[in-house]
Amino acid sequence: MALLEVNNLHTSFFTPAGEVRAVNGVSFQLERGKVLGIVGESGSGKSVTAYSIMQILASTGRIVEGSIKLDGQELVNAGEKVMKQVRGNKISIIFQDPMTSLNPTYTIGHQLMEAITLHTERSKKQAWDRAVEMLRLVNVNEPEKRMKQYPFEFSGGMRQRVMIAMALACEPDILIADEPTTALDVTIQAQILELMKSLQEELGMAIIMITHDLGVVAQLCDEVIVMYAGSICEQGTAEEIFYNPRHEYTKGLMRSIPTADTAGTRLQPITGTPIDLLNMPKGCPFAPRCDNAMKICLTRRCERMKINDDHMAACWMNVKAGAEDGSIQLEHEDPEGGEADA
């Protein structure tokens, strides 16, 4: 049994303008100790997927369908009491902007100790010691002194390390990192990624790494999910996604990033504008921007198909190719789960 099993997740926001279907049938599994990357265009539902797992959605948002199982336990509709146990204890999250998630009016030490005592039976003294230990673990020097300082006295990189310390204080099974290094400089980012990798190996936790940076994914992730318009358009091992992309959006994404080899040439951008979730096309959501769209793409959505044991994609181009050489078979939805066995 996988540590985390998400099945056919649908999350919507009910706004005056209508129902915003931010997540549309997302399914995946996360094994213990693995790093799963989630990439995709801005607004494709990466954060909402993470917030759904934690059940920390805005008040207008609701999981309308689907199942989320942690160690076999169903979390959807499990109630706030169960979720309080899960958050911090079993699953922790770090956000993109450490300044908005640290309280500017309390010392770093106060906030760390609060995170520790909230979830575990520890005395104040034990919590202090643990907090100092965590700061040391994330390479904050002079941790005793730092405990008494306020967030504004820390640099951006240090604040992000404090957030990691806070998220790890209770030794969660899963760490969700939502763009943890986007706001940071390259050399500080390298420090943080190295730290996350070594802590992950030491503590054996699983990580869900949400990022728009394909370089970060290439460096850290075992598995990759590519999202487009609230759905997973492609999923597989990092090697498969980078070297054998099988969805037209992923291919476009790979072509549009500058690398050392593109200097002096024109990039090949994905044309058109991002999708409007209130106005979803009938067929494949990427069809309006896809250079290879066929008739069927405009009218019917493609199911996720198995490309090989390590790879699934939802793109009619594979059916076309497969029909020609007979090499791929359609996979059918299994309502009991086990669908995303990529």
Binding site: S155, G156, L193, H212, D213, L214, A218, Q219, S256, T259
Partner: protein
């Protein structure tokens, strides 16, 4: 100091920008945001400028354009100094800036047409209303904006489209030189590629010269002819883009280049990153001697004593480090 050729369109000599910061009730202290920076940009060239947050990139751009009065140093345009009011005014028609944040840099109460037309109004660049409108539509066309959008407000547009509006505005006065300050950093990857291509195409069409500021090394590597690296207000290295990317000489640039997240799993995993310890010092308390010495894996006592000179270490390749020769 970098060799100055006659073909330089822009030249900066010993540029300094110190801000006065209050550090007590009655005390203030200079924050040396840019401290003795020299470089030149050839006509039609793109010079990339990289470095950590707060190292002074934006301040170089703004001071260079005289948006801030330089604390010290000289700015030359086409070999001529830019100093007097007239010289500065003339220079401002030829040199302009595109800003990082397409969301906050555009006035939400102005229509696209007014945003693009504003520089034309300020410098009275048209004879009639019709002439003004014609010029605006021409600019919109140049950056791939639909003429139907002219009467709409900026907030109705996506990030990529807003950046196009900002670029059209920058082009209004037919500039020769543009400081591009993180113009694609706020954009999604797919949109980023569209805007990068537009910068490339406009440069070809209009013979533009760019100072291109960005923190994404791969973007800068893609677009630049040469790249300059700053650290704590100083320029630490400057060379041809391919050269500096493949053979950096300065210890800071080495760690910077090694830390670039490579979008290729095999390369990324085989990569030996030079991970620096410690944080960037505050520019109010810059270290003595070499600004990088507190994080430099090769620092010696000598590095704390004297500021290394910015000098040519190989043809066209400048760096400021006491140990360049030994370490490379």
């Amino acid at each position: 100091m970098p060799e100055i050729t006659e073909k330089s369109l822009i030249e900066v000599r010993h540029l300094k920008q110190y801000f006065s910061i209050n550090v007590g009730m009655f005390k203030s202290k200079p924050l040396k945001a840019v401290d003795d920076v020299s470089f030149a940009i050839r006509k039609g060239e793109t010079l990339g400028l990289v470095g950590e947050s707060g190292c002074g990139k934006t301040t170089v751009g703004r001071t260079l354009l005289h948006l801030y009065k330089p604390t010290g140093g000289e700015i030359l345009y086409n070999g001529q100094p830019v100093q007097t009011r007239e010289e500065i005014n003339a220079f401002r028609k030829k040199a302009t800036m595109v800003f990082q944040d397409p969301y906050s840099s555009l006035n939400p109460r102005m229509t696209v047409s007014d945003i693009i037309g504003e520089p034309l109004d300020i410098h009275k660049m048209y004879g009639s209303k019709a002439e003004r409108q014609e010029r605006i539509l021409e600019l919109m066309d140049k950056v791939g904006l639909n003429s139907e959008h002219a009467a709409r407000y900026a907030h109705e547009f996506s990030g990529g489209q807003r950046q196009r509006i900002g670029i059209a505005r920058a082009l209004a006065l037919d500039p020769e030189f543009i400081v591009c300050d993180e113009p694609v950093s706020a954009l999604d990857v797919s949109i980023q590629a569209q805007v990068i291509n537009m910068f490339d195409e406009l440069q070809d069409q209009l013979e533009l010269t760019y100072l291109f500021i960005a923190h994404d090394i791969l973007v800068v590597r893609h677009i630049s002819d040469r790249i300059a690296v700053m650290y704590l207000g100083k320029m630490v290295e400057l060379a041809d883009a391919k050269e500096i990317y493949e053979h950096p000489l300065h210890p800071y640039t080495k760690s910077l280049m090694s830390a670039v997240p490579q979008p290729d799993p095999r390369i990324a995993r085989a990569n030996k990153r030079i991970v620096l310890s410690g944080d960037i010092p505050s520019p109010l308390n810059a270290p003595s001697g070499c600004p990088f010495r507190t994080r430099c894996p090769h620092a010696t006592e000598a590095c704390a004593e004297a500021m290394p000179e910015f000098k040519e270490a190989a043809p066209g390749h400048f760096a400021a480090c006491h140990r360049i020769a030994e370490l490379n």
